[in-house]
């Protein structure tokens, strides 16, 4: 068989991308495409894993058994999402163990949003509604990402996320229909989460350094600002239904644009949290590290058992 040159391979790759064909793990791909995928999918996986922490604090204090069962199931789903994503990233020839260690060593990023604390039960409602809601907008768009295993993981995840958002909104509804104190607690949680949630979509398009290449190779399918606007547009009516307000005096419907206008986002805060100065950065990683170390004997025992009895 004749030898295929790297130029041919690159051309074939670009053609597939142009024709909306998926790239599969054993297909040839540019090294940079592979690196970008490894970074994005592993960060996504770490986010799912660390995302369990703000919510688990409230498991033992859920107000009813039904709420507790729902929250437990949601948190278990997030662990599952992490596993789908680690499974997807491993197809690119990296070790899950290594990626996870990098994460524990603080060498990998995860979503900023999980560095904020869940202070009251209302936070659990607002996390499900807004944080998972923002994640859904992002992940729905990623169902069309160009790398097959990532796209398939997104399809699976999106099927489960609606439950997360609805159980969250249902908590918010109960509080909104409750006492003045409960409504105040809900408003307070919305005030604290609103801006960090808008930051989840990442910096404005003009400043987003990875975005262009990522859009060109169809890893990302919509820009940060587009997704942010989409989220705001669909969320404001839900907010109004609760009889609550966003902590943004500039938020209002713009009939000319057919979108809601919103006020300036404090990107200084975003970069500070990324640099490790968020309220919970240290605690989150410490919790995962301790869990990993304390689980070492279980991993060792499983290997010892398998050697002995298989």
């Amino acid at each position: 068989m004749e030898h295929t040159t790297s130029i041919d391979l690159e051309k074939r790759f670009e053609e597939k991308i142009a024709r909306e064909l998926k790239i599969e793990p054993k297909d040839w791909m540019p090294e940079e495409y592979r690196r970008m995928l490894i970074r994005q999918i592993s960060q996504h996986a770490h986010s799912e894993v660390i995302g369990m922490l703000p919510e688990k604090n409230w498991l033992t204090r859920a107000p009813t058994l039904r709420r507790k069962m729902a929250l437990l199931a949601k948190i278990q789903d997030e662990a599952g999402h992490g596993l789908y994503l680690y499974s997807a990233v491993e197809t690119l020839g990296v070790s899950r163990e290594q990626l996870y260690r990098d994460f524990l060593d603080g060498k990998a990023k995860y979503s900023n949003i999980f560095n904020y604390p869940a202070l009251t039960w209302a936070d659990i409602g607002v996390i499900g509604w807004l944080v998972d809601g923002a994640a859904i907008v992002n992940q729905v768009s990623l169902q069309r990402t160009s790398f097959g295993p990532y796209a398939r993981a997104m399809v699976r995840i999106c099927k489960e996320e609606n439950f997360h958002q609805r159980q969250g909104y249902s908590i918010c509804l109960t509080l909104a229909r409750g006492s003045a104190e409960q409504r105040q607690m809900l408003q307070d949680a919305i005030n604290r989460w609103w801006w960090p949630v808008l930051m989840m979509f990442g910096p404005p398009d003009a400043e987003s350094k990875h975005s262009q290449k990522s859009m060109k190779w169809k890893i990302k399918r919509a820009s940060n600002d587009t997704l942010r606007q989409k989220f705001i547009d669909q969320t404001v009516p839900q907010l109004e239904y609760l009889g609550m307000k966003a902590p943004d005096p500039h938020l209002k419907w713009n009939p000319e644009r057919g979108h809601y206008d919103y006020g300036p986002i404090d990107w200084e805060e975003f970069w500070n949290v990324i640099r490790g100065k968020g309220p919970c950065n240290k605690e989150r990683l410490r919790t995962k590290r301790v869990a990993y170390e304390e689980g070492q004997w279980v991993r060792d025992a499983a290997i010892a058992y398998a050697k002995e009895y298989n």
Binding site: M1, T4, E24, K26, D27, W28, A73, Q76, D77, G80, L83, Y84, S87, A88, E90, S95, R96, E97, R152, A153, R156, K159, E160, R299, A302, I303, Y305, A306, K307, Y309, N310
Partner: protein
């Protein structure tokens, strides 16, 4: 064995369907792989049966050979029923 080996997971969604690849898990043995696959991939009635196979035993065709392997099938149009033009008067065929 320092790290738990990788297993590929196949799920039959319901009887009458083929098992279909869904992803992978890490496990020290087959029994654990089944248990992890169950927790990871079937939390909502996605399946009635699970197969797990150590990933190292999967042999895959090389994407480079795609043309060699599959291209010849494309010019064999006579393998398809529509290749045979029959008179409209002939029914049930």
């Amino acid at each position: 064995m320092k790290e738990w080996p990788l297993w590929e997971v196949f799920i039959r969604s319901k009887n009458g369907q083929y098992h279909k690849h869904v992803g992978s898990v890490h496990a020290t043995d087959a029994q654990m792989a089944i248990e992890h696959a169950r927790d990871t991939y079937t939390r909502r009635n996605e399946g009635v049966s699970i197969w797990v196979v150590p990933s190292k035993y999967i042999t895959a065709s090389d994407p480079e050979d795609e043309d060699m392997l599959f291209e010849p099938a494309k010019d064999k149009v006579y393998r398809h029923p529509t290749f045979y033009k029959l008179p409209d008067d002939v029914k049930n065929i």
